[in-house]
């Protein structure tokens, strides 16, 4: 590796809509305004993202929210303590099922507008009938074991009484391959970020059953990940990067810029897909089915302090799901590690925001099934679920 100047930041990312903040910061001058030479490196897997930041190839990364926690807790390969300086947006994922499964769900009264409760109940009925008929279990794809996708899919299934480990099979696939895997029947459904749900809807091979924003409103998806040691060694560079990403987010979040952002992200260098696939999520005009109307509902949020400032309870909810699904054993000492990882300190320092204003949240985390989440009683929260590992 050549020596880097004190203004260079090398960022690894996966081609997805929510890499927008990094892409726009690098290409539209937001990084430059803060004197940062932001260099982007496209990666093919989350495992590579994790390994390459651990060994110092990357300074910062576009990362699945739960991954820095898994790294700090040392429950993943090449684990080093990590920090989350900021979230890169809220929402943006959806659960898509094949048209064949949707027809059966529809017959079982699944809601047309992505309501998690009725679609979940309908799927439970489909699965029960399938079991009686002696059919194979349905197969669902997620992008990584330590992902919001895995936890949202499992939460939705389990809330409907479907055991994610016994009643269905959950496999891992790279996001861009999901629509094809669905089309050829390799999987029956998947949870992935955009544009890979819209891709199946456009192709007429899939139907969006529900989405992240409906399951867990205003929840973080990708985050900026950085190793603790890099953050400690480069506070000034990190602060400038965070500020440039916040400005980039304001631009990305402005719906008037959506066509330009879609064109930029869709180019061969980044997502390499048709630009029209990127637009529905960027404009909050998602179509859940090919023939259906565009729903005027919040789907994905890039801008605003609530979209960026890391919240302890979000990190703790991710941790609770690691415990619930057997990825981690509950350990009170681990809670401090999670708190350090998801601390808002770096964001507040970079943006000059006081603790009070950062902590003043409109409401605590809430979920579609109304089960309250108490971040101070994680063990009891997990214990109270019927379905868990």
């Amino acid at each position: 590796m050549s020596t880097r100047s004190s203004d260079t930041v090398i960022a690894g990312y996966i081609p997805l809509l929510d890499s927008a903040l990094l892409v726009a910061a690098a290409r539209l001058g937001f990084a430059e305004e803060e004197g940062i030479d932001l260099q982007l490196v496209r990666e093919t897997s989350w495992a590579n993202i994790r390994d390459r930041i651990s060994v110092g190839h990357f300074d910062v990364v576009h990362m699945l929210g739960p991954m820095p926690i898994a790294a700090s807790l040392n429950i993943t390969s090449l684990a080093v303590p990590m920090r989350v300086p900021m979230a890169l947006g809220l929402g943006g994922n959806a659960i898509t099922v094949s048209c064949a499964i949707w027809d059966q769900m529809s017959a079982a009264d699944a809601g047309e507008e992505g309501d998690p409760a009725s679609t979940g109940a309908a799927l439970a009925q489909v699965i029960a009938e399938r079991k009686t008929a002696g059919g194979d279990p349905l197969r669902f794809g997620v992008v990584h074991p330590f992902s919001g996708h895995a936890y949202e899919l499992r939460y939705w299934l389990a809330a409907a009484g479907i055991d994610p480990d016994a009643d269905v099979e959950i496999t891992v696939l790279p996001p861009p391959l999901m629509p094809d895997a669905l089309a050829v029947g390799q999987i029956d459904g998947y949870c992935v970020g955009e544009p890979w749900n819209t891709a199946a809807v456009h192709a007429g091979t899939g139907r969006i059953a529900t989405f992240k924003e409906a399951i867990w409103p205003a929840s973080p998806e990708k985050v900026l990940g950085v190793t603790e040691s890099w953050a400690e060694r480069n506070p000034d560079r990190l602060d400038r990067l965070v500020r440039s990403l916040v400005r980039s987010a304001e631009w990305c979040g402005n719906k008037e810029n959506a066509p330009q952002l879609a064109a930029l992200l869709a180019s061969a260098e980044f997502l390499d897909c048709p630009a029209n696939l990127c637009l529905p999520a960027l404009t909050d005009q998602m179509r859940l089915s090919k023939a259906g109307p565009a729903l005027d509902i919040p789907f994905m949020t890039f801008s605003g302090p609530l979209a960026h400032c890391p919240r302890l309870e979000h990190g703790l909810w991710f941790y609770s799901q690691m415990v619930r699904w057997g990825q981690a054993g509950f350990n009170a000492a681990d809670l401090d590690i999670v708190r350090d990882t998801f601390s808002s300190a770096i964001y507040r320092r970079a943006c000059g925001v006081g603790e009070q204003s950062a902590l003043r949240q409109p409401q605590p985390a809430r979920f579609f099934d109304q089960t309250p989440f108490d971040p101070d009683a994680i063990e009891a929260y997990v214990e109270a679920f019927d379905l868990k590992v």
Partner: protein, 208 residues
């Protein structure tokens, strides 16, 4: 899985052999790695070039070491399979020993990732990974040389076309046309290929 190793030792083999699974959808590269490992005395090398039925294969083969290409977009799926099947008790990238960060970077640079069964001594895996790294490098060198040869061929074709254009329009010989190209390049401090490319493009415009 360590039992496999022990039983080989009990069978009186001089060195207990490890079974090595190479997962690579690039068949040429996979065979280069396979050959390297075989040359180094590893007899149990299995190459898999597709993900279909991989789970079953891993269960049957019970590999001690799995070598994969970092560029494989299915890497996340592989990690998941390792966890689910417990084929690899806890998937550990070979370069997990943080004291050897130099070799970690070398491995990542070379595009190699190896997974070893928990508890397997790293001294036994390191030579395998080193071999894989050198083979990956040899393959990328081959690729680069091939690319260079292709470029050279393309350049020669462009120069030939430029010569043809000059010969036709000025009614001069091939040698004279080449000398004219070279002289123009020297006068303008440019490469012959650049002048030739300019001429070919310009003449294409004029023809239209």
């Amino acid at each position: 899985m360590r039992c496999t190793i022990i039983s080989h030792a009990h069978n009186g083999a001089m060195t207990p052999s490890l079974s090595i699974l190479v997962i690579d959808d690039n068949k040429i590269r996979a065979s280069i790695i396979e050959q390297g490992l075989r040359d180094a005395g590893h007899e149990k090398v299995i190459v898999v070039d597709q993900m279909d039925g991989l789970l079953r294969k891993i269960t049957t083969i019970e590999p001690d070491v799995i070598v994969i290409d970092l560029e494989n977009p299915n890497r996340d799926q592989l990690e998941h399979i390792f966890q689910v099947t417990r084929a690899v008790q806890r998937p550990i990238a070979m370069f997990v020993d943080k004291s050897e960060s130099g070799s970690i970077e070398a491995a990542v640079d070379a595009g190699v990732s190896a997974y070893v069964v928990d508890g397997l001594k790293k001294e036994r895996v390191k030579p395998i990974l080193d071999m894989a790294i050198s083979r990956f490098r040899a393959y990328s060198r081959l690729n680069r040389e091939l690319e260079e040869a292709r470029t050279e061929l393309a350049e020669r074709k462009t120069i030939d076309r430029a010569k043809g254009i000059i010969m036709k329009s000025k009614g001069i010989s091939e040698d004279e046309a080449y000398r004219l190209l070279r002289k123009t390049a020297m006068n303008q401090s440019r490469k012959i290929i650049e002048v030739a490319q300019g001429l070919v493009i310009a003449s294409g415009l004029l023809e239209d």
